[in-house]
Point group: C2
Chain length 137, copies 2
Protein backbone atom coordinates (compact mmCIF):
# COMPACT_ATOMS: atom_id res chain seq x y z
CA UNK A 1 0.00 0.00 0.00
CA UNK A 2 1.28 3.41 -1.00
CA UNK A 3 0.68 6.22 1.48
CA UNK A 4 0.49 9.87 0.43
CA UNK A 5 0.47 12.87 2.74
CA UNK A 6 -0.35 16.53 2.19
CA UNK A 7 -0.91 19.56 4.42
CA UNK A 8 -2.90 22.74 4.27
CA UNK A 9 -5.29 25.17 5.89
CA UNK A 10 -8.25 24.51 3.57
CA UNK A 11 -10.13 27.70 4.45
CA UNK A 12 -13.27 28.24 2.32
CA UNK A 13 -13.13 24.79 0.67
CA UNK A 14 -12.95 25.29 -3.12
CA UNK A 15 -12.26 23.59 -6.46
CA UNK A 16 -8.50 24.12 -6.10
CA UNK A 17 -8.53 22.03 -2.92
CA UNK A 18 -10.62 19.31 -4.61
CA UNK A 19 -8.28 19.13 -7.62
CA UNK A 20 -5.19 18.89 -5.42
CA UNK A 21 -6.70 16.19 -3.18
CA UNK A 22 -7.90 14.16 -6.18
CA UNK A 23 -4.47 14.26 -7.81
CA UNK A 24 -2.71 13.52 -4.51
CA UNK A 25 -4.92 10.47 -3.95
CA UNK A 26 -4.25 9.24 -7.52
CA UNK A 27 -0.54 8.96 -6.65
CA UNK A 28 -1.21 6.15 -4.13
CA UNK A 29 -3.76 4.18 -2.12
CA UNK A 30 -4.15 6.02 1.17
CA UNK A 31 -4.25 9.81 1.48
CA UNK A 32 -3.52 11.51 4.81
CA UNK A 33 -4.29 15.23 5.11
CA UNK A 34 -2.79 17.42 7.83
CA UNK A 35 -5.03 20.39 8.59
CA UNK A 36 -3.43 23.44 10.26
CA UNK A 37 -4.90 24.13 13.68
CA UNK A 38 -6.09 27.65 14.50
CA UNK A 39 -3.20 27.97 16.99
CA UNK A 40 -0.60 26.97 14.37
CA UNK A 41 -2.07 29.49 11.93
CA UNK A 42 -2.02 32.16 14.62
CA UNK A 43 1.69 31.52 15.21
CA UNK A 44 2.17 32.23 11.47
CA UNK A 45 0.11 35.44 11.69
CA UNK A 46 -2.57 33.81 9.55
CA UNK A 47 -6.27 33.77 10.36
CA UNK A 48 -9.05 31.71 8.80
CA UNK A 49 -12.72 32.39 8.40
CA UNK A 50 -13.64 28.77 9.04
CA UNK A 51 -12.66 27.28 12.42
CA UNK A 52 -10.40 24.22 12.66
CA UNK A 53 -13.13 21.72 13.61
CA UNK A 54 -15.20 22.69 10.56
CA UNK A 55 -12.18 22.53 8.25
CA UNK A 56 -11.40 19.02 9.60
CA UNK A 57 -15.01 17.82 9.11
CA UNK A 58 -15.15 19.13 5.54
CA UNK A 59 -11.91 17.29 4.68
CA UNK A 60 -13.31 14.11 6.25
CA UNK A 61 -16.33 14.35 3.97
CA UNK A 62 -14.11 14.36 0.86
CA UNK A 63 -14.08 11.05 -0.99
CA UNK A 64 -10.38 11.33 -1.88
CA UNK A 65 -9.28 11.68 1.75
CA UNK A 66 -8.73 8.63 3.97
CA UNK A 67 -7.33 10.12 7.19
CA UNK A 68 -7.37 13.66 8.57
CA UNK A 69 -4.89 14.75 11.24
CA UNK A 70 -4.22 18.13 12.90
CA UNK A 71 -1.03 19.97 11.88
CA UNK A 72 0.33 21.77 14.91
CA UNK A 73 3.86 22.90 14.07
CA UNK A 74 6.45 23.11 11.30
CA UNK A 75 8.55 20.18 12.59
CA UNK A 76 5.66 17.74 12.45
CA UNK A 77 6.01 16.78 8.77
CA UNK A 78 9.22 14.80 9.25
CA UNK A 79 7.73 12.98 12.25
CA UNK A 80 4.49 12.16 10.39
CA UNK A 81 6.38 10.76 7.37
CA UNK A 82 8.14 8.35 9.71
CA UNK A 83 5.11 7.54 11.86
CA UNK A 84 2.74 6.83 8.94
CA UNK A 85 5.41 5.22 6.69
CA UNK A 86 4.66 7.81 4.00
CA UNK A 87 5.82 7.11 0.43
CA UNK A 88 5.06 10.50 -1.10
CA UNK A 89 4.73 14.02 0.32
CA UNK A 90 2.57 16.27 -1.89
CA UNK A 91 2.12 20.05 -1.76
CA UNK A 92 1.05 22.88 -4.10
CA UNK A 93 3.79 24.33 -6.28
CA UNK A 94 3.44 27.72 -4.59
CA UNK A 95 5.83 25.98 -2.11
CA UNK A 96 8.22 24.83 -4.90
CA UNK A 97 11.58 23.80 -3.47
CA UNK A 98 10.67 24.64 0.10
CA UNK A 99 10.25 21.06 1.29
CA UNK A 100 13.20 19.51 -0.56
CA UNK A 101 14.79 18.48 2.74
CA UNK A 102 12.03 15.83 3.05
CA UNK A 103 13.50 14.08 -0.03
CA UNK A 104 15.82 12.30 2.40
CA UNK A 105 12.73 10.52 3.79
CA UNK A 106 10.30 10.03 0.86
CA UNK A 107 9.27 11.26 -2.60
CA UNK A 108 8.41 14.96 -2.69
CA UNK A 109 5.92 16.10 -5.34
CA UNK A 110 4.95 19.73 -6.00
CA UNK A 111 1.58 19.82 -7.80
CA UNK A 112 0.57 22.76 -9.97
CA UNK A 113 -2.27 24.76 -8.46
CA UNK A 114 -5.64 25.36 -10.09
CA UNK A 115 -5.45 28.69 -11.90
CA UNK A 116 -7.51 31.68 -10.81
CA UNK A 117 -8.80 30.24 -7.55
CA UNK A 118 -7.56 30.35 -3.97
CA UNK A 119 -9.02 31.08 -0.53
CA UNK A 120 -7.46 34.55 -0.82
CA UNK A 121 -9.04 35.23 -4.22
CA UNK A 122 -12.47 34.25 -2.83
CA UNK A 123 -11.95 36.66 0.07
CA UNK A 124 -10.87 39.43 -2.31
CA UNK A 125 -13.92 38.84 -4.51
CA UNK A 126 -16.18 39.09 -1.46
CA UNK A 127 -14.53 42.33 -0.40
CA UNK A 128 -14.99 43.82 -3.88
CA UNK A 129 -18.65 42.76 -3.90
CA UNK A 130 -19.15 44.30 -0.48
CA UNK A 131 -17.56 47.57 -1.65
CA UNK A 132 -19.71 47.61 -4.79
CA UNK A 133 -22.82 47.00 -2.67
CA UNK A 134 -21.96 50.06 -0.58
CA UNK A 135 -21.22 52.24 -3.60
CA UNK A 136 -24.43 51.22 -5.35
CA UNK A 137 -26.52 51.05 -2.17
CA UNK B 1 -32.60 0.47 -3.04
CA UNK B 2 -33.86 3.67 -1.47
CA UNK B 3 -33.21 6.87 -3.40
CA UNK B 4 -32.97 10.27 -1.71
CA UNK B 5 -32.92 13.64 -3.47
CA UNK B 6 -32.04 17.13 -2.29
CA UNK B 7 -31.45 20.51 -3.94
CA UNK B 8 -29.42 23.59 -3.22
CA UNK B 9 -26.97 26.24 -4.38
CA UNK B 10 -24.03 25.13 -2.22
CA UNK B 11 -22.12 28.39 -2.52
CA UNK B 12 -18.96 28.52 -0.34
CA UNK B 13 -19.16 24.84 0.68
CA UNK B 14 -19.34 24.65 4.50
CA UNK B 15 -20.04 22.40 7.49
CA UNK B 16 -23.81 23.03 7.24
CA UNK B 17 -23.79 21.53 3.73
CA UNK B 18 -21.74 18.54 4.91
CA UNK B 19 -24.09 17.85 7.84
CA UNK B 20 -27.17 18.04 5.64
CA UNK B 21 -25.70 15.76 2.95
CA UNK B 22 -24.54 13.21 5.54
CA UNK B 23 -27.97 13.06 7.17
CA UNK B 24 -29.74 12.95 3.79
CA UNK B 25 -27.55 10.01 2.69
CA UNK B 26 -28.25 8.18 5.98
CA UNK B 27 -31.97 8.11 5.07
CA UNK B 28 -31.33 5.79 2.10
CA UNK B 29 -28.81 4.17 -0.23
CA UNK B 30 -28.38 6.57 -3.14
CA UNK B 31 -28.23 10.36 -2.76
CA UNK B 32 -28.93 12.62 -5.74
CA UNK B 33 -28.11 16.33 -5.38
CA UNK B 34 -29.58 18.99 -7.66
CA UNK B 35 -27.30 22.02 -7.89
CA UNK B 36 -28.86 25.32 -8.99
CA UNK B 37 -27.37 26.59 -12.23
CA UNK B 38 -26.14 30.19 -12.41
CA UNK B 39 -29.03 30.98 -14.81
CA UNK B 40 -31.65 29.57 -12.40
CA UNK B 41 -30.13 31.59 -9.56
CA UNK B 42 -30.16 34.71 -11.74
CA UNK B 43 -33.87 34.22 -12.42
CA UNK B 44 -34.36 34.26 -8.63
CA UNK B 45 -32.26 37.43 -8.27
CA UNK B 46 -29.60 35.40 -6.46
CA UNK B 47 -25.89 35.47 -7.24
CA UNK B 48 -23.14 33.14 -6.09
CA UNK B 49 -19.47 33.68 -5.56
CA UNK B 50 -18.58 30.23 -6.84
CA UNK B 51 -19.57 29.38 -10.43
CA UNK B 52 -21.88 26.44 -11.22
CA UNK B 53 -19.18 24.09 -12.60
CA UNK B 54 -17.10 24.49 -9.43
CA UNK B 55 -20.12 23.97 -7.18
CA UNK B 56 -20.95 20.77 -9.12
CA UNK B 57 -17.37 19.44 -8.86
CA UNK B 58 -17.20 20.10 -5.12
CA UNK B 59 -20.46 18.17 -4.59
CA UNK B 60 -19.11 15.32 -6.71
CA UNK B 61 -16.07 15.10 -4.42
CA UNK B 62 -18.30 14.60 -1.36
CA UNK B 63 -18.38 11.00 -0.14
CA UNK B 64 -22.09 11.16 0.80
CA UNK B 65 -23.18 12.17 -2.69
CA UNK B 66 -23.75 9.57 -5.44
CA UNK B 67 -25.14 11.63 -8.33
CA UNK B 68 -25.04 15.35 -9.06
CA UNK B 69 -27.52 16.94 -11.50
CA UNK B 70 -28.13 20.56 -12.53
CA UNK B 71 -31.29 22.24 -11.19
CA UNK B 72 -32.63 24.55 -13.87
CA UNK B 73 -36.16 25.56 -12.85
CA UNK B 74 -38.74 25.31 -10.07
CA UNK B 75 -40.87 22.69 -11.87
CA UNK B 76 -38.00 20.22 -12.17
CA UNK B 77 -38.37 18.62 -8.72
CA UNK B 78 -41.62 16.81 -9.53
CA UNK B 79 -40.14 15.53 -12.81
CA UNK B 80 -36.92 14.35 -11.13
CA UNK B 81 -38.83 12.45 -8.40
CA UNK B 82 -40.63 10.52 -11.13
CA UNK B 83 -37.59 10.08 -13.39
CA UNK B 84 -35.24 8.82 -10.65
CA UNK B 85 -37.94 6.87 -8.71
CA UNK B 86 -37.15 8.94 -5.61
CA UNK B 87 -38.34 7.63 -2.22
CA UNK B 88 -37.52 10.69 -0.11
CA UNK B 89 -37.16 14.38 -0.89
CA UNK B 90 -34.97 16.18 1.68
CA UNK B 91 -34.48 19.91 2.23
CA UNK B 92 -33.37 22.26 5.04
CA UNK B 93 -36.11 23.36 7.44
CA UNK B 94 -35.71 26.98 6.36
CA UNK B 95 -38.10 25.73 3.63
CA UNK B 96 -40.51 24.15 6.15
CA UNK B 97 -43.90 23.42 4.58
CA UNK B 98 -42.95 24.86 1.21
CA UNK B 99 -42.59 21.56 -0.60
CA UNK B 100 -45.55 19.75 0.94
CA UNK B 101 -47.14 19.35 -2.48
CA UNK B 102 -44.42 16.76 -3.27
CA UNK B 103 -45.91 14.50 -0.54
CA UNK B 104 -48.28 13.21 -3.24
CA UNK B 105 -45.20 11.68 -4.93
CA UNK B 106 -42.77 10.63 -2.12
CA UNK B 107 -41.73 11.22 1.49
CA UNK B 108 -40.82 14.83 2.23
CA UNK B 109 -38.33 15.44 5.05
CA UNK B 110 -37.30 18.89 6.34
CA UNK B 111 -33.94 18.62 8.14
CA UNK B 112 -32.91 21.12 10.80
CA UNK B 113 -30.05 23.33 9.66
CA UNK B 114 -26.67 23.58 11.38
CA UNK B 115 -26.84 26.55 13.74
CA UNK B 116 -24.71 29.65 13.20
CA UNK B 117 -23.44 28.79 9.74
CA UNK B 118 -24.68 29.54 6.24
CA UNK B 119 -23.21 30.86 3.00
CA UNK B 120 -24.73 34.24 3.91
CA UNK B 121 -23.16 34.26 7.37
CA UNK B 122 -19.74 33.53 5.84
CA UNK B 123 -20.22 36.43 3.43
CA UNK B 124 -21.26 38.72 6.29
CA UNK B 125 -18.22 37.69 8.34
CA UNK B 126 -15.96 38.48 5.38
CA UNK B 127 -17.57 41.88 4.95
CA UNK B 128 -17.10 42.70 8.64
CA UNK B 129 -13.46 41.63 8.48
CA UNK B 130 -12.92 43.76 5.41
CA UNK B 131 -14.50 46.78 7.13
CA UNK B 132 -12.37 46.21 10.24
CA UNK B 133 -9.25 45.97 8.06
CA UNK B 134 -10.08 49.38 6.58
CA UNK B 135 -10.80 50.98 9.95
CA UNK B 136 -7.60 49.63 11.47
CA UNK B 137 -5.53 50.06 8.31
Amino acid sequence: MKTIITYGTFDLFHIGHVNLLKRAKSLGDHLIVGVSTDEFNQSKGKSTLIPFEHRMAILESCRYVDTVIPEENWAQKADDIKKYKVDTFVIGDDWLGQFDELKAQCNVVYLSRTKQISSSSIKQALQLLSQLDKELG
